[in-house]
């Protein structure tokens, strides 16, 4: 009986649809830690994601300016209106599978929204938050 319960729990855990990590994000979490980041927190990531800062043309912007409020839906580039595929791994299996690509966009987008690069801590928090979507 006890064994059955354990088995069921294991099965439920395995079937959970939430993508909490991929090989690419595992690699990045490890790298960010080696760069001095402590543990990562989805809640902190969520706050930074939605925090508005003043862009270069005076417009208030945050990550959701382009990625949209609902991460399971498509977003639009704020200038060119080009379609951006959903950020949520639950809606877009391609997301967070390529470490090089993740780093490329962190560099660009942190520079565009925050006018600086993100720290290892911030990037890890963002990833934790996004992977839970």
């Amino acid at each position: 009986m006890k064994f059955h319960k354990i088995l069921m729990t294991v099965c439920l855990l395995l079937a959970a649809p939430v993508a909490l990590a991929t090989p690419a994000t595992d690699e990045l979490f490890a790298r960010y830690k080696s760069e001095g980041a402590a543990g990562f927190d989805a809640e902190r990531g969520s706050k930074s994601w939605n925090k508005e800062t003043k862009g270069e043309d005076g417009e208030m912007m945050s990550c959701s300016t382009c990625h949209g409020k609902d991460l399971s839906k498509e977003g639009h580039h704020h200038k060119t209106n080009k379609l951006i595929q959903p950020m949520a791994p639950s809606a877009n299996k391609e997301r967070f599978t390529d470490a090089k690509k993740i780093e490329k966009w962190f560099k660009r987008n942190c520079n565009d929204v925050l006018a600086r690069e993100c720290t290892a801590q911030e990037k890890g928090d963002f990833l934790k938050f996004l992977l839970s979507k």
Partner: protein, 187 residues
């Protein structure tokens, strides 16, 4: 005699049908190819398409001269690409740079690219396609309300907002469809 004539006819027909694919590569093929060279060569490099196309319409290299691409596709310049950080790693940048230079306006036999090359021969290299004289002239009769004042167009920079076959490098007037202005209502 008869068969030779037929063979020649077939050869010409084949060259005509496979037109645009061959037109950009070789002068002699270009010369005997009749369905050629009006339009701009479509992008046929995956890296170029993906990297440029992830933020905006992947403008074909044949829309600007090499000297413009050299300015735009520079490591430092890309860090502030019209106000956005579009940095690329060295390898990717080299692929894109080489592709753009090999297919730049002055390297192409397409009529439009030749006109762009001619219009940009003298003076500073334009950083925007919309600064090219030939492109300006082609668009100058379009009233502002159809472009700037049109919420689904906003700027001439968004080629594919109206040019329905822009991805294929086709910018012919017949393929233009201005959003919110159906039936070519030009008033």
């Amino acid at each position: 005699m008869h068969t030779k004539f037929k063979a020649a006819l077939l050869a010409v027909a084949l060259l005509m049908s496979s037109g645009s694919a061959l037109a950009d590569g070789n002068f002699w093929l270009w010369l005997v190819n009749f369905s050629r060279q009006k339009e701009v060569k479509a992008v046929d490099n995956k890296t170029y398409q993906e990297e440029c196309g992830s933020c905006h319409f992947a403008y074909q290299p044949g829309l600007l001269p090499g000297k413009s691409w050299a300015k735009l596709l520079d490591e430092k310049a890309l860090a502030d690409h019209f106000g956005e950080d579009a940095s690329l790693d060295k390898d990717t940048l080299k692929t894109i740079y080489d592709y753009a230079m090999e297919n730049a306006a002055e390297k192409s036999y397409s009529k439009r690219s030749r006109k762009i090359a001619l219009a940009t021969e003298d003076g500073d290299a334009p950083l925007r396609i919309t600064e090219v004289r030939y492109i300006k002239r082609k668009h100058h009769e379009i009233p502002e309300k159809m472009v700037k004042g049109n919420k689904d167009v906003k700027s001439l920079s968004y080629c594919n907002a109206c040019h329905t076959k822009a991805e294929e490098g086709i910018f012919d007037e017949d393929t233009v469809d201005i959003p919110n202005f159906p039936h070519r209502d030009h008033d």
